[in-house]
């Protein structure tokens, strides 16, 4: 089973209903500031992501990467600045579920799954369907949907474990499950916060492979500290370096890696 087949299942839509990406960008962050009791976790951060782009974000611990994702997904409200999904959706006015509904999916830095549900149910819950009360009450899995869950299970290599409680998985397995949930959601914009933390090197390579497959079909934003992994997936694309809440450098991986300031604050000598 390769990631290829998965792509057939996921509709592959890049932009969905209601999302206006006429200007080519799917996400605009402009002058976003987030302060916590005076401490600026994000400081006038501006950033945009094009449709179908895979953007890697790196930066020191505490640079504000996770906070930025919090802002995009509605978990944290920016103190100032604007965040737009497409041309028209003002993320700062939307709730978490509206944002998710609009097509932004996220994997958290620490794996967050429904520990009391089975692996299967985790995927089922995440699946892209009508998520209002009545449809949920009367929902029945179609064989197509069933098939899709099976595909994803294989992809994340938890096929034998679908009836296990997710809480009993190991750390790395939880990471994979969460990626699986993300794929079930079929979002247009995927946010991945340290997807390979705690994965073995081989698993990391597999993840890189998966991301390379998804490239172009979804817009993706990846935060990672694993430079080998970032190099692998960034290819010739743009890598953004955050530092102290704003963009420190931006360019290809090679440019960034040779930037003195980046070496100073992040890579080390």
């Amino acid at each position: 089973m390769s990631a290829n087949e998965h792509l057939n299942i996921s509709s592959g839509r890049v932009a969905g209903e209601g999302l206006d990406t006429t200007h080519g960008a799917i996400l605009y962050l402009e002058e976003i500031t987030v302060s916590f009791d005076g401490f600026r976790a994000l400081n006038k951060l501006s950033l945009d992501i094009s449709v179908g782009e895979l953007r890697c974000i790196i930066g020191p611990n505490g640079a504000g990467k996770t906070t930025m994702m919090d802002v995009i997904t509605g978990k944290t409200r920016p103190t100032s600045g604007t965040a737009f999904f497409g041309q028209t959706m003002d993320l700062s006015r939307m709730t978490e579920y509206q944002i998710a509904h609009a097509g932004i999916g996220r994997k958290f830095q620490r794996p967050t799954i429904f520990e009391q549900h089975t692996v299967f149910e985790n995927l089922e819950l995440a699946m892209k369907t009508d998520k209002r009360v009545r449809p949920t009450l009367f929902a029945r899995l179609s064989s197509e949907q069933h098939g899709k869950i099976d595909e994803i299970l294989k992809l994340i290599r938890l096929s034998g474990s679908e009836r296990r409680l997710a809480g009993l998985l190991s750390h790395g397995q939880k990471q994979w499950l969460e990626i699986g949930m993300l794929l079930m959601q079929e979002p247009q914009l995927i946010l991945l916060d340290e997807p390979v933390a705690g994965m073995s090197d081989a698993e990391t390579a597999r993840t890189a492979e998966l991301l390379n497959e998804l490239r172009g079909k979804h817009s993706i934003m990846v935060v990672e500290h694993d430079m080998a992994f970032v190099t692998e997936i960034a290819q010739q694309g743009v890598v953004t370096v955050l530092h102290e809440g704003s963009v420190l450098a931006q360019g290809t991986m090679a440019q960034v890696q040779s930037d003195e300031r980046v070496i100073e604050v992040y890579l080390g000598r």
């Binding site: 579920y97 998710a100 429904f114 299967f120 819950l125 899995l141």
Partner: protein, 360 residues
């Protein structure tokens, strides 16, 4: 689907058998005369009828607590409101047979009220009151829940405001001027739909209706819990915020079970009044609501059958102990609660599940 089935085959047959036995009680009571070995005393029948109402309330509570993780310490208010709604009809049905022989209930005559206050309008209609039984707890729960859930009040904070709510209602209903009979509440009912309320056949009918409601609610709840919505509810319980990030709005899911639960509780209360013969504000005391939680906990929350078993066993023990050991029963009951928590973390239902696992 991929769920282990909620009730095993054995549980299904158990439920069916229980329903049959329960249904047989009033029949045996009517069919055989006192003294006959198969006679079931009417005392027993009314006792079991009352327990079934409690069981329905416990089941309702389990839907919100056991599945959606919303601990309500104020379900007594829904129970009582359902009871009061039905009670209004029963009071009107007394007609002029009250002690003051007035069209108004005695307590209103006593307050010198000349007409019914507006909220008693049309309560002489049985069907209207039945609608109230559903609507009053339902609307209250909906409004209360809407604001609370929208403000993302959770955990003990939610529990405590439900407690505050029931407490406030209790004080309100204690006031004579509120128009619901004050401390004495409603009692001394004479008839329901024209049938004498103390006639054995009426009682048997009420009993059977209760049984049907209980069984029906059990099936309804099982269906909900087994649907995808049931799984969303459990996800609400475990990680509400994660649920939002995959696109669900927990507000409506919570509101749905919360309101459903309140309505079921109200129905339980409505069935309770004619069988017990009194409803008064002490049903809204915080301690009463806590007791409902205790029934669910003893039986095993999050199991549907557990709370029903819990309501029967706790109340059964209480009834028996208060007669058999009037001075010591609190020790026994208290000890049982402690032992259940200590040794049966999943309640009685959990014990059953464990036994089943050990000897398949």
């Amino acid at each position: 689907m991929n769920q282990p089935s909620l009730f095993s085959h054995r549980a299904w047959s158990g439920i069916a058998a229980c329903c049959l036995v329960l249904a047989a009680l009033p029949v045996l009571n009517l069919a055989f005369a006192d003294g006959h070995p198969l006679h079931v005393p009417s005392y027993m029948v009314s006792l079991v009828g009352k327990f079934m109402c409690y069981a329905l309330a416990a089941l309702a509570l389990d839907m919100v607590w056991g599945y959606a993780g919303i601990l309500s310490l104020g379900h007594g208010v829904f129970f009582a409101l359902g009871a009061y709604a039905h009670g209004m009809y029963l009071m009107r049905a007394i007609g002029r047979e009250g002690v003051y022989q007035s069209d108004l209930p005695d307590f209103m005559v006593f307050l010198d009220w000349k007409t019914y206050p507006w909220y008693w309008t049309a309560t002489d209609s049985f069907w209207y009151c039945l609608a109230l039984v559903v609507l009053v707890p339902g609307v209250l729960a909906f409004v209360f829940g809407f604001f609370a859930f929208r403000s993302r009040i959770k955990g003990v904070y939610f529990s405590i405001i439900t407690q505050a709510m029931t407490y406030a209602f209790m004080l309100l209903f204690f006031r004579n001027n509120t128009g619901f009979g004050g401390n004495n509440g409603f009692t001394d009912f004479k008839r329901i739909l024209g049938y004498s309320i103390s006639a054995p056949a009426t009682k048997a009918t009420l009993y059977l209706v209760t049984l049907a409601m209980l069984a029906g609610s059990l099936l309804l709840c099982r269906w909900i819990v087994k649907s995808k919505l049931g799984r969303v509810l459990q996800a609400v319980r475990d990680s509400e915020s994660r649920l939002m990030f995959i696109g669900y709005n927990p507000l409506w899911f919570k509101l749905f079970v919360w309101t459903l639960s309140a309505v079921l509780c109200g129905i339980a209360g409505a069935l309770y009044v004619p069988q017990v013969g009194i409803i008064n504000p002490s049903e809204m005391s915080p301690a009463n609501s806590i007791e409902m939680v205790i029934w669910a906990a003893v039986g095993g929350r999050g199991t549907l059958l557990g709370p029903i078993i819990g309501a029967f066993s706790v109340n059964g023990l209480k009834s028996w102990f208060t007669g058999a050991f009037p001075n010591l029963w609190l020790f026994a009951l208290g000890l049982i609660f402690i032992l259940v928590t200590r040794y049966l973390p999943q309640g009685i239902a959990g014990l059953a599940a464990r036994l089943r696992k050990e000897q398949p």
